[in-house]
Point group: none
Chain length 551, copies 2
């Protein structure tokens, strides 16, 4: 017999308190769809009336399978619940559920609200009763509950009971300041249940200020709480809320939770979790955090040589769950700690089958090691790694040769006496026996300069003769630069991410003391990789007579 | 009576398993210094013999106050500990402590090692005994211990006892795959103690694959373990190790730990924790994670309006610890009173005293906000921040004006038929009424090209007329480049570190879609800051007649 455990998502409310995050109404709508597809039980949409975006979002009357919830606060002192305009604004959103936050820590009642302790109890009870009278499912967010309980347990419990007895479906225990540790959360949650509020009516809302948001949530569930609150990717005020992309797979896959509870998220939906996480980052234009449990791109990356070779024998040796169940995938990156088995796996993923013990393997490892000592890094630049391997295996076609290039960046005043800059690149390429010259300047639609790497990339892609069709859809999407140790002195490492019309995305690396040179090397790799992938055939060269080669 | 709790740092070993992280030897040296200043008890430096960097680092014989530790593995089957060359490589590093990893999960012994269970016990015992015979402090990393215990508790415990009875000072319980949850960690750690190994000899090594690395560590400490392992910023294989920048403040500041334990990190050193965390990110050129507990830039950022106003009355209303104890600072919405007092403190650090309520404060905050929206970042670029403030305060002298510049990068074959590149910069500067033209190419002693930024910096510093004496000793020591969000589109942010003969080091920032432009802006700031610091007097300009200005 399993017991129902409910998931309450507050990405659109507490998640909006993340520094630098400001959702628009269409973004809120899109995120609500992602959450609904995932199968959470409650979606808290924001605080109707608190700001124009939240009001507009609620005015659009979002239709969700999950119980759509409006957030607000208990009525203010000195007026009835019916006559509180802030509370009325929340109710007017017409949501099936309403969650009201109220004080439960005596210090906050007297210090922040400046009212009497009994008056606060009355505010809680009357506000909740008002929700219930309006036919809404009522949730009470017990603000600062754990700190309040440690300061004055009797009063903190009285606040909970005031809400519960007024008809609240859920009493949510909030660790508002995020400073409570797991053992305390467990003990205090048990004390609440002992006081007479059943665990089936208790929710838990934690913050990550000690890195324990997830553990605190589990501690409350272990103690009996049956609603867990959190956000996608752990968004939220300060260090964030409990991360649902971490909690959901743990609850669904790991014991004792998997066989104790039934949750609204199916195993099918779980396979969309990584995608849901990345979609949120896309919407927010945030770089996905690689180290995120379950859904991060490094979560199943095996770098240590010993781990990588064992993974080949049996993935369970170094993986606590199968990456595919959360829609993620395994990565065995190259590094100077990798062994030959790691290498063979990597090559096989690139479609290069090499027999164990093939002497080319040792040569590839040596080259990789040597180039890493010069400042290259192949952890992320998988496409460049593949080209290094192909070179050693004699499987890298000679598509074209760059004879020379020249890049100019100029900054001067324009005719309106405004400082402007302009970049220009000239490039000379030889394909077979044909010499091709291209020139390009870097200018976006607004006439702004996009810089020398952009100019060079455009010039290179402008005319590659017989290969032109293959690279028409190639797009430079990101480049990262860092100064690194190149053996005897500092060099610049450039990593370029490229994309094509088929949705492929690949990374290449270039290293040089000169940043333009380094970027150029990475660009060349990006094009070569694309030509190989698309099956382009190298143009054969007429071997020139000695001395007849015109440069 | 407090009990000693030991902190073991593995940033330089397990932290090196982070995807995308590849330390150089000088970086390892720098990080070891940061760790030593912090006061950790053990610094694990890597695996001598496993790769050239680690070998070079150990060859440099780092001197640390902490017990410097080499990592390796137990001897292989079929040879004695004395005759195992891998083990010999580890011992040859000559460190006072050595940590050897060995198998404790029966499945791994038979599957990954392919040896008998008793043979593995012998390998553990003989390897540890060999360390002890050589006079080293021996640590045994019990790989996959928790999974092993769940599969075969008797055998897993036998492995620990083999190491302990052979003289290991510490038995480190490793949750290698990171899938164990806090309650299990606590129960199994207690079972180990019950089996006869005292908690004072037990360490805990966790990974964050379920978001519980910190909680798992605390659960083991609660159960009796007295050594905690982790890394700065939670670096480490896959999702990372337990984050010491989270654990250390929790152990030092929060109950029951604060009054139970004595640790090597002092409260003074704790105030350098945020700086240590940012330094590591700087070394790795990683964007600091804002939401990191205690040390993240958002950890004490109060965005919710209700929180911000209560914080003004009493910070403890919404903060679980005082940010200053970890060297962090509070962030409240820029517009209010607290935002201004923060700003005044920062200005005063730069020698600029501004009275409370001065309208320039609001102007500075607005400008900073606006420029940050364009992609600037003043967290590390203090010198550029000072210049923004000086501009608003009317205290930024007009030393010179750049009329135009032109940078060329060319790559072609030289007379030996070798591809070489050359960068050249021309710059035109106006000082007072004088126009100065400088040209410089970028070439090091070996005739190698150092790139366009170097050429530009040399041209700019070549002839600054009356200011030349002030900038003779200016040196560009580092530059970092990042693509960042500039509002409507991606821009390039360049941060330049400069140094002078007086040992001063300062950072400046430039932002543009064009990387050369961005670098140039940062260079200009670097020179202007230096001229101000050295008290250079601006050359007065003769106001030209209308139309007489020659460009």
């Amino acid at each position: 017999m399993t017991e129902r455990l409910y998931i309450f998502d507050t990405t659109l409310r507490d998640g909006q308190q993340t520094q630098g995050v400001q959702f628009s109404t269409p973004e809120k709508t899109k995120i609500a769809e992602v959450l609904d597809r995932l199968g959470v039980d409650y979606i808290e949409g924001g605080w109707p009336g608190a700001n124009p975006t939240d009001s507009e979002f609620f005015d659009s009357r979002p239709q969700t399978r999950a119980t759509f919830t409006a957030f607000g606060m208990t009525k203010r002192a000195g007026r009835s619940a019916e006559n509180d305009d802030v509370l009325a604004g929340v109710l007017n959103a017409g949501t099936p559920a309403v969650c009201l936050v109220g004080k439960t820590h005596d210090f906050h009642v007297t210090k922040a609200l400046g009212i009497g302790l009994d008056e606060n109890l009355g505010n809680i009870a009357q506000s909740v009763a008002h929700l219930v009278a309006q036919g809404r499912e009522a949730l009470f967010d017990a603000e600062h509950f754990f700190d309040g309980y440690k300061a004055n347990p009797d009063y903190a419990l009285k606040c909970l009971h005031a809400a519960f007895e007024a008809g609240a479906r859920w009493i949510v225990l909030c660790d508002t300041n995020g400073g409570t540790l797991p053992a305390e959360i467990g003990a205090i949650t048990r004390a609440v249940i002992d006081s007479g509020i059943p665990g089936g009516h208790l929710g838990i809302h934690t913050h990550d200020d000690t890195g324990n948001a997830v553990a605190n949530t589990l501690a409350a569930v272990d103690a009996g709480a049956r609603q867990v609150q959190g956000t996608l990717n752990g968004l939220g005020e300060r260090c964030g809320n409990a991360n649902l992309t971490t909690l959901i797979p743990t609850l669904l896959l790991k014991e004792p939770y998997a066989s104790t509870f039934e949750i609204g998220v199916s195993h099918d939906a779980l396979a969309g979790l990584t995608r849901a996480s990345r979609m949120l980052d896309d919407i927010l234009n945030r770089v996905p955090l690689k180290s995120l449990p379950y859904v991060g791109s490094s979560a199943f990356a095996h770098k240590a040589g010993l781990h990588a070779s064992a993974i080949l024998k049996d993935p369970s040796t170094y993986e606590h769950v199968d990456p595919s169940v959360v829609g993620n995938s395994r990565i065995v990156p190259m590094s100077n700690q990798a062994g030959q088995s790691n290498l063979r796996r990597r090559l096989s993923e690139a479609g290069l089958e090499v027999a164990p013990g093939d002497p080319a393997l040792a040569r590839i490892l040596d080259t990789v090691k040597e180039r890493e000592a010069q400042g290259y890094s192949y952890d992320t630049a998988q496409a460049s790694f593949e080209l290094v391997a192909r070179e050693e295996l004699g499987q890298k076609p000679d598509f074209f040769e760059v004879k020379r290039y020249k890049v100019t960046v100029e900054r001067r005043k324009n005719k309106y006496n405004k400082m402007v800059s302009l970049s220009e690149a000239v490039i000379v390429v030889k394909i077979g026996d044909e010499k091709l010259l291209s020139v390009s300047e870097s200018m976006d639609e607004q006439g702004g300069d996009r810089g020398p790497v952009n100019a060079l990339s455009k010039a290179l892609a402008k005319d590659l003769g017989p290969y032109q069709d293959y690279i028409e859809d190639l797009r430079l999407v990101d480049f990262k630069v860092r100064i690194t140790d190149g053996g005897t002195e500092a060099v610049t490492r450039v990593i370029i991410d490229s994309e094509d019309g088929q949705g492929r995305r690949w990374s290449t690396v270039g290293v040089s003391a000169n940043i333009i040179d380094a970027a150029f090397d990475a660009l060349l790799d990006a094009i070569t990789w694309k030509l190989i992938r698309d099956g382009a055939k190298p143009v054969s060269k007429v071997v020139p007579l000695q001395g007849a080669d015109i440069r």
